[in-house]
Symmetry: C3
Subunit: 439 residues, 3 copies
């Protein structure tokens, strides 16, 4: 219920009065306004930090020759996403949706400003804090795509896709639920975005991977899979820890309020559950890869943490801690089994973003009714399918349009040379290994 | 006083009334509940981030061939610690201790939930926020061990030790003070855990290092010390900065309350003192190593920062800033002198965790009476010895039990090859240096 | 208005009463005290984190042989800056300035402490929280210098300069505006320090670079520029993301209050504007380098983000989001054009700190009147020139005094060998590339 603050506030107020919280304890309206806004800001800077997490994770999982390009893409994504969300995305997602299919095409502007002292405290929070928090989510969806299609996509066509994704595809489907559109009216529930953020990135990535084709040498003509290890597992681990940290903001601040004791309790439960789902994912993958392959696979364990996080994102509030661990662990197991499946279809997902964000995004959304009585499996499935179909269809159109106009894939020679030398004319580590051979 | 919130609150209230804060200024109970919970959450995510700090520090201080293993251990520790603390640790530490030696064996569950609106505001904070904050401390204790015993311990026996440490050893000794047990009644004071967290990790690490023995080649048969430099000083530096940042949560939120002006003042003083103790440690080691060895030793300086942080952790509130600088500087000096001492006894501590966490943990705890009048040197010593004896004895038993059953040390061949290839079958930097030689 | 809390609070109160906020909604004094202090602490730890950002950025942009030295300098700067600001800086900047040119020479001590319960709530915040927040700003100014003069400056003379800069130069000029001195009375406006922090570091760096001279081999005798690529673009990117994150604290908490709805709105606007100025810088440099050089330059793009951030720092509150994007984009363009200009004058700025912090600091300060009606272009120029002249003059004196006594530049042999081996006797990456050749 990302846009339904007043209703939530009202519900909370009613709950407070009817139960163990005495009516007179209700928090002063202005204090609640400050606390709600501050939650958005703290949660927002944590989610902003996830941009660095994706960057480090992806830079660590590509080969040295594409590391600088990966860094450039990630900082570029975060910048473009913010600008597009300002120019068109926010209002397309939140302005005048009213049970429909999209909002309005217009620039966003703050509904109040400190300078002219027009503060409407009944909204419950500063509009700029809300905008900031929603904006950082958009970048997350786009960051997911960059990992999957790495090492062979052209730089500027990639940014073109990001612009359409963050300016139009993401906000339109987001309006259906968080903007108060038709899926919201149907009862679809996705607390912080297992489907609305993660699977959206996942579908766009999957379509991109199929249309782009695999990296040269990833699959032999006879269908053998050649593993292409990433350049730095320390960066990949750092990226995972950054994402784990950022997720407290992603899920915790999606409570959208901290102006009552009930909200404080809710945000606390979400923090605990989010953490433990990730822990469940880690332990599951650790044991599973040891059992299946005799060696523990660190990359897979890192994806296990992320799998747990994505899985709990659709409903981090209602599960008990034990349930959160199980939901995360199931997400981890899913990753272990989906990664080889993708290879079977020769879908080359460089960082494992499709199993993590798409598959666990779906799993997490389907798992909501297990702990949240107010939801139904069929409605959840409807939401997953509707959003999946919409995002996939539009992504295919954009990827193909780019492919047949400017082209999306670098030449074979450029791919062999790597993006860093061919697109940027520089090396990530000019004095080391690959770099020091001065190609 | 980690479990004495109500008493503290009452004291604060009395103080407020009697002094310059007018009685009618007392903060609304619900607002205090929100602020207290939020402090736990913000402090908690900062301490969670320390898991990444330990990971980067330790990955930077081992050789390339053990870097991925180090990363795996650290993310695994954080996951196992949370799960164990949920299954048994929290209640063993906090449930029904009452002056005794341990709490009860039971799963933790939240005493209130947002869903069923049972909020008891008299506790002063959301129970899940408290659990989250206590949980992240457990992981810290275990992270300390992994650095010391690195590069020669077997992966799964190490995790087995972590499980016992985080599920049983840590919570039982923690109950003695923070759970309201016998040491608390005696008057032992350890604000944020110089002894209860850091020395606990330190003792467990020391016993492990002795039982495991040194890495092959660290000491020549004639007792010469061969320095084994770590693979990446940038990662070690990054890890130190992360730990420094996280420590604001570690010490600051250990005030356990932000619901009154006095609490806000206290948390602020703790922030300033924590920072300046670390600064004192840095400057002391910088000057000392320059003076003693003619060259400044960066690794030692990094440990100087951590030494300052550990030293101030037992009492970050009562010192003035000048005193905090001196307490931290003394901790830094301690590290410079203890590191060669350990080498004399051929105790191979890969990252210097024993000087930093054990020695400075003891120093910091003994330094409490210097600035806190309510404590005594003899009681502090009693606490240090009791906890040291308990943790060391149990650690020895567990390490030996593991040694004589599954074994704790890798084979000589595996040690030479490194954990990354022998336990994980992968390399941290497959395109570089060591990695590119394709062992 | 860093030292004018009461005035601001009063203004806010008056605004509240006169407008849409009902008078009775005024936040309880103690709650406001807590929230104001907490804003300083959260903002403060974010700015502290910028020390890690500068460290990673600069370590990534120097050659491998100077990486450990860079790390040492950055952790040392942060430690020295805090100690000096405690010993003399804070009171020199804030104590008894009263329209004059500097405060008093004295140790700082907290005006209230939790232990003796002397809380004066009329100040509006805990004095230690304010000290902590101001202290972290000092380190930023010094960090800027270290990047420019890297790879050829002697370690201890560098620290000597840092001590004078953080203990005297920075606080004295800071007192002119934020301490309530003559520039403040003149109407000079620099919200979070485009001039007072960033250009101060920039001027000191520029004088240092000129007096030190360029690195050996940077410019050929015929004036050709030889690019010297940095050792790790991933570290440089990580550093940029850290700085971006920290800037939310730098600018956001410079509102200095969170105790009213208007403050919450202001902090939220500042977060949004800060982010979007950086985004504007990124996109501008991305497109400009592609257009001018056919290849996108990642290092330049990273500096574009920082350029945007520095540019918005003088006035992050009054611009609309669209204006913030443009201000940041102009800063980005400035960097693209100033970098080659510096090379023309053979001023060797290793990390590009002069274009980013000095030029964009000036640009941002001059841009204030574009959106803030209460300021004038001439007053802004006066402040820029006065501070520039003062800092430059004193910096020249200190740099020259150091040069002609202890010397500031390493020998040619040491420069070739690198700081890591010559000053620290260690290597950042002993098993890799340069390191593995065992010079």
């Amino acid at each position: 219920m990302k846009n339904k603050f007043l209703t939530t506030g009202l519900m909370a107020a009613i709950l407070c009065m009817g139960l163990s919280i005495p009516a007179q304890a209700a928090v002063d309206q202005e204090v609640a306004f400050i606390l709600n806004s501050f939650l958005f800001l703290v949660g927002g800077f944590l989610v902003m930090w996830m941009a660095a997490g994706f960057c480090m994770l992806e830079a660590g999982l590509v080969r040295t020759k594409n590391v600088a390009t990966m860094c450039l893409k990630n900082i570029g994504i975060y910048a473009f996403a913010g600008i597009l969300y300002f120019i068109v995305g926010y209002n397309l997602m939140y302005s005048g949706v009213d049970g429909g299919f999209m909002g309005s095409f217009s620039l966003w502007s703050a509904s109040e400003t400190a300078a002219n002292e027009v503060i409407n405290m009944e909204t419950g929070y500063s509009s700029a804090s809300d905008w900031f928090f929603q904006m950082v989510f958009v970048a997350t969806a786009a960051s997911i795509v960059s990992g999957t299609v790495a090492e062979r996509i052209k730089l500027f066509p990639f940014f073109a896709f990001v612009i359409v994704l963050t300016g139009f595809i993401y906000p339109i489907q987001g309006s259906w639920t968080w903007g108060g559109g038709w899926l919201k009216e149907l009862g679809f529930s996705d607390f912080a975005g297992s489907t609305i953020v993660h699977s959206v990135g996942g579908w766009a990535a999957l379509m991109g991977a199929i249309i782009l084709g695999a990296r040269k040498g990833k699959y032999s003509p006879t269908g053998q899979v050649r593993p292409i290890p990433g350049s730095s597992l320390t960066l990949a681990t750092l990226g995972t820890f950054i994402l784990w940290l950022g997720w407290f903001g992603f899920n915790g601040a999606s409570q959208l309020a901290l102006g009552s004791a009930i909200d404080a309790v809710a945000v606390s439960q979400i923090f605990a559950n989010t953490n433990m789902a990730a822990a469940g994912g880690v332990v599951m993958v650790l044991l599973l890869t040891k059992f299946l392959y005799k060696k523990v696979d660190l990359t897979m364990v890192l994806n296990g943490a992320l799998a747990g996080l994505v899985s709990i994102t659709a409903e981090p509030l209602t599960p008990t801690i034990g349930q959160a661990i199980l939901i995360g662990a199931a997400g981890g197991a899913l990753v272990v089994f989906v990664v080889p499946l993708l290879d079977k279809f020769q879908i080359d997902d460089v960082v494992g973003a499709i199993p993590v964000h798409l598959c666990c995004g779906i799993w997490g959304t389907l798992a909501v009714p297990l702990t949240n009585e107010g939801t139904s499996f069929m409605t959840q499935l409807t939401g997953i399918l509707a959003i999946g179909a919409f995002v996939s269809a539009l992504s295919v159109i954009i990827w193909l349009a780019l492919k047949y106009t400017v082209g999306i894939r670098v030449s074979e020679e450029e791919e062999a040379k790597g993006g860093d030398l061919s697109e940027l004319g520089m090396e990530a580590y000019p004095e080391f290994g690959y770099g020091s051979q001065k190609l």
